[in-house]
């Protein structure tokens, strides 16, 4: 029995870690059925695992690995003295908001709004600054009188040399 225990004990850890083959598992289970010492050894392994598992899991739950990694990356980049372009890029990558890409449609909308607004603004500005008559084509002689104060523009058609309605 003692020899059997010594040969099984090597397999017991593999069995406990669920790394044993089906043949080894059958051998260990057959031995465990008749060996209280090895049963105790297996129970002790389970107890050790549980006593280690609980504090580790508690510590893991408390730890914010993402934040830790961000801090580590920042430290690495600071030490590398990265360029301003790389700094902006890394800041964008590290920020949770930008990583999620939810800002892409919002930025697109904002860009289009700015584009439309500036387009309208420049169109209006250029429109107000331009004269009332853009071009005139006529088979008659043509005179154009822009009267700034009176807010009237006159396009006058006449024949020959004589103007029929000269401005007074």
């Amino acid at each position: 029995m003692k020899d059997s225990c010594s040969s099984v004990s090597r397999l017991l850890e593999k069995y406990f870690d669920q790394e044993a083959t089906s043949k080894e598992r059958a051998l260990v289970e057959a031995h465990l059925a008749g060996c209280p010492a090895c049963q105790d050894a297996l129970k002790w392994m389970g107890h050790c695992r549980d006593s280690l598992k609980v504090p580790i899991e508690t510590a893991l739950q408390k730890e914010d690995f993402e934040r830790s990694w961000q801090n580590i990356r920042r430290e690495i980049q600071i030490r590398e003295k990265s360029s301003w372009r790389e700094s902006i890029q890394s800041w964008l990558e590290l920020s949770g908001l930008f990583r999620k890409k939810v800002w892409v449609p919002a930025v697109a909308v904002a860009a289009i709004l700015v584009l439309l607004t500036t387009q309208v603004f420049f169109e209006e500005a250029s429109f107000v600054a331009l004269p009332d008559v853009e071009y005139v084509d006529s088979s008659y002689n043509v005179m154009v009188y822009p009267i700034e104060r009176g807010k009237i523009t006159v396009i006058w058609l006449f024949e020959g040399q004589e103007m029929e309605a000269p401005p007074s």
Partner: protein, 147 residues
């Protein structure tokens, strides 16, 4: 549900693009005036223009021949017959918040005697007059009818 945040801005973009490209309409007041030196009558409905025209022209009589409020749409010509064989055709080229670009054709006996592009803006009037015909002159007064 995850697609809603993407759909909303996309819809807004489409609405903005449609609004910026959608055809708009503009109302233009066209007055056809007959000016001459026969008599000294000024049509009461031309009082707003007479002060300006009186300082520009040496006519003594101004009569409103007809007045039309034209609804113009981009690219669609609107034609008014002044007398047999004489037409004025107005086409909205582009509308702005502060006015519009308008193409004007004056047609006499099937021939263009005037082809012009003018800008109409609030408070401003474009007068197109001449040539003299049988002692009187036809003047077209164009101004925006709204804003």
């Amino acid at each position: 549900m995850r697609r809603i945040p993407l759909v909303l801005p996309l819809g807004l973009i489409l609405v903005l693009l449609f609004a910026s490209t959608a055809p708009t309409q503009m109302n233009v007041r066209l007055r056809v005036i007959q000016a001459s030196n026969i008599g000294r009558a000024v049509d009461p409905s031309l009082r707003d223009l007479h002060g300006q025209m009186g300082s520009l022209f040496n006519f003594t009589s101004y009569r409103l021949f007809r007045q039309d409020d034209l609804s113009l749409y981009p690219g669609l010509p609107t034609s008014i017959q002044v007398r047999p064989g004489r037409y004025i055709e107005v086409t909205l080229v582009q509308e702005y918040r502060e006015g519009a670009e308008v193409r004007i054709r004056v047609i006499l006996e099937g021939k263009d005697i005037l082809n012009a592009m003018v800008r109409l803006s609030p408070g401003r009037t474009v007068l197109i007059g001449g040539p003299r015909h049988a002692g009187w002159v036809t003047i077209f007064a164009l101004s925006p009818a709204r804003y």
